[in-house]
Symmetry: C2
Subunit: 197 residues, 2 copies
């Protein structure tokens, strides 16, 4: 029997650098599938269907909910966001590891449903640094920054519930830590697919 | 409160390359302490007390046994071999990770006594390759090689009981896997020693 993959759920507050860290990890890791979320919101400029999101209708989304075809979902500002179950299960069955990059409440829902998932929290080195990063973008109003910082403080208070914490001070170090977590899972006996002869 | 280290027990059949893999890992990993075994056998040429072994008398060894100061021990061909508990505990308390390189029965004893220890089995890529390596040394008689191969087959049959399996095909890859296992433990929430501010 061949090995099944591991589901890695990567979460953390906005501004912690999840996307950048994951980008580095994907550059150098094979057999790793990035789960693309589905949403009912309209594509923004430059967003590609099937790459950034699966853009679907409200009717299609509600049909996925009714048929239990989502690993988790949530509704924000009248739009649905969720993780389609089928591609995740297919890749795991093929022996690929799967990465979900989702927000913290979604991560908890996945863990409740799939206790064998590995939860990784990517944390900023400090709240001061997080605030610098949000301001550095130069795209957000003062009010938005303050609201995001409040959210980040609340979210980071919950990081004690997660199994792995990766501190994103230098992105290369954080990527190395995340990749090590994935490699260590692949070295687990139950994930090893060989017999000596 | 500061973090406690993790105890890594590295085992595998003779000829699997445990020492070479560990040498590579120690080159590039700080806060990692290598546990030196105690023995009552006489030093061989080139062996340094406190580096290769702690060379002690039979009387000293039996006093360690009586006072429960050994993590595990065994007797082979009239000589004792064992792991002194004190330096292991001191380094773990300081937050260093500790590596024991011991034979398979010893590894099982350590796990029974310290269920939080991480057991890593270093496996040769195949029995054929293991036999080539043993012959390649050019120092062993045919009889010894056959006996060692028999032992290795028996030992590898037990590798299913270990938590992590590192396949030593290329030593660099094996060292990278072992280092990843150590790094992943360091990323576990309970081993992270920081709070955001």
């Amino acid at each position: 029997m061949s090995r099944k993959g591991t589901l890695f759920v990567v979460t953390g507050p906005s501004g912690a650098g999840k996307g950048t860290v994951l980008g580095k990890v994907f550059e150098s890791t094979d057999h790793l599938y990035f789960s693309v979320s589905a949403t009912t919101r309209a594509p923004r400029e430059g967003e590609v269907d099937g790459v950034h999101y699966h853009f679907i209708t409200r009717e299609q989304f509600e049909s996925l909910i009714e048929n239990d075809r989502l690993l988790e979902y949530a509704e924000y500002v009248n739009n649905y966001y969720g993780t389609p179950l089928a591609p995740v299960e297919e890749h795991l069955a093929q022996g690929d590891d799967v990465v979900l990059e989702i927000e913290i409440q979604g991560a908890r829902k996945v863990k409740a449903r799939r206790p064998d998932a590995a939860l990784v929290f990517i944390a900023p080195p400090s709240f001061e640094e997080l605030e610098n990063r949000l301001r550095g973008r130069g795209t957000e109003s003062e009010e938005t920054i303050l609201r995001r910082m409040e959210t980040a403080r609340r979210e980071c208070a919950g990081m004690e519930d997660f199994e792995y914490i990766v501190l994103n001070d230098r992105v290369e170090d954080a990527a190395c830590e995340l990749k090590s977590i994935i490699t260590a899972y692949r070295c687990r006996r139950e994930n090893r697919d060989f017999s000596l002869n």
